[in-house]
């Protein structure tokens, strides 16, 4: 247990070190700032499209640091050293997912409020966005670590990594943005189910990918 806590803090420290804490926040706010300029100052249109934009930005913010999640540890031999100590790759992946969920999820939740304001979302929609993204954060982190593990052996992995998990992230986008629709009352349950499934698959798939890096 001490071992896993040490691993978790190390990942969190590396994720937030050197100002990287603000990276997803800045990215998220940048999208929210740029979007109204692109579609024009039509408030009803902005309100309708803005919710979906928040979801897209959240997905991309999760994928932003994937080249820092697994590859540096693999190159430095950290993943091998953990394996030598009998710690299963799946456990290492699970810790990485937890650390990433907190590292990008927490600042994202905070940035959600100014971003939603910039996109003309009213209080009810902000609430739905906050609940939806909070539900999706573990799944987004899981997908990010999975794609990081799958692409850690490749030279320009991060570009491929985004494409790789995009199909898996589509249900999250559909159900998450669907929650904002007045007719989408069941969407939150589907979102929760999808998130649970992706979060559960993540450690096993990412662990298998990390083991594959050794062969």
């Amino acid at each position: 247990m001490t071992t896993l806590i040490a691993l978790f803090w190390r990942d969190l420290r590396r994720a937030w070190g050197r100002g990287a804490l603000w990276l997803p926040v800045l990215f998220f706010l940048l999208v929210a700032t740029a979007f109204p300029f692109a579609v024009g100052p039509d408030a009803p249109l902005l309100r309708r499209a803005g919710g979906g934009m928040v979801w897209v930005a959240a997905l991309l913010a999760a994928l932003l640091p994937i080249d820092r999640l697994v590859r540096p540890d693999r190159d430095a031999g950290v993943i091998d050293q953990l394996a030598v100590r009998g710690i299963a790759d799946e456990v290492v992946a699970a810790v990485k997912i937890l650390a990433h969920a907190i590292a990008f999820g927490l600042p994202l939740m905070i940035a959600l409020f100014p971003a939603a304001a910039l996109l003309a979302q009213d209080a009810a929609r902000v609430e739905l966005l906050a609940v939806g993204i909070a539900i999706a954060v573990p799944a987004l982190a899981s997908l990010a670590v999975l794609s990081a593990a799958l692409t850690a052996g490749l030279k320009s992995g991060s570009a491929i990594g985004g494409l790789l998990v995009l199909p898996l992230a589509v249900p999250l986008l559909i159900f998450g943005a669907g929650m904002l629709d007045p007719s989408g009352r069941g969407a939150i349950k589907l979102l929760a189910a999808t998130s649970l499934l992706l979060t559960m698959i993540g450690p096993f798939a990412a662990g298998a990918a990390m083991r594959g890096l050794r062969e």
Binding site: A6, D75, A76, G77, D80, L82, A83, V84, R214
Partner: protein, 194 residues
């Protein structure tokens, strides 16, 4: 006496090349074995097999006890001061700070405690990796070219550390392309096996 590390009829294939086959060895407490041979003979692969990082194509690998490994990667966070980078592994290995203190003294690294790992030289990094191995308290040491980049004084400290580990009932599998001067050392010429 039961062996800490035992390999039976092990074969190793990397890519489509057979590096070695039908290789057996056993290390009892206090024993050390030098894997010698030219580059590409399969020394590192054998170390990784023994560590469980590679699966043997044939044969079995048995370990009785924890393992400490040195390979070409130091596995120390480059941005951290040396001491904090080592403390991370001490926490992972659930050993206390005194073990790190003693190991740092053994490798004469105390003056560099506060220096970021990124600033260390190759030899200093190898010494730091050796501190991690010593502090871990693991009975089985797998050392892959531990002396690379080390000066004479550091090599002497490495040899002393290996001797102390053997006296305490540890076993050492040492891969090196040159002789380190470890006394009472069995040899396995990987060049001849391949």
């Amino acid at each position: 006496m039961s062996a800490l590390l035992q390999l039976d009829g092990v074969a190793c294939i990397r890519g489509d090349r057979l590096l070695f086959e039908n290789l057996s060895l056993a290390l009892a407490p206090g024993e050390a074995l030098w894997l010698r041979g030219p580059n590409g003979a399969g020394k590192s692969s054998l170390i990784r097999l023994a560590a469980g990082l590679l699966r043997p194509a044939a044969g079995t690998v048995e370990r009785r006890g924890r393992i400490a490994l040195i390979d070409e990667a130091a596995a120390l966070d480059a941005e951290l001061p040396l001491r904090r980078a080592l403390d991370f592994w001490a926490r992972v290995d659930t050993v206390d700070g005194h073990a790190v203190d003693r190991a740092m003294a053994a490798m004469a690294l105390e003056p560099l405690s506060e220096v970021p790992v990124a600033m260390l030289s190759t030899g200093q990094r190898k010494r730091a990796a050796m501190v991690r191995v010593i502090a871990s308290g693991a009975p089985i040491w797998l050392l892959d070219e531990p002396a690379n980049g080390m000066d004479d004084a550091a090599q002497a400290r490495l040899v002393a550390a290996i001797a102390a580990h053997r006296v305490n009932g540890g076993a050492v599998l040492l891969a090196s392309h040159f002789a380190l001067g470890v006394p009472d050392l069995a040899e396995l010429d990987m060049g001849a096996v391949a």
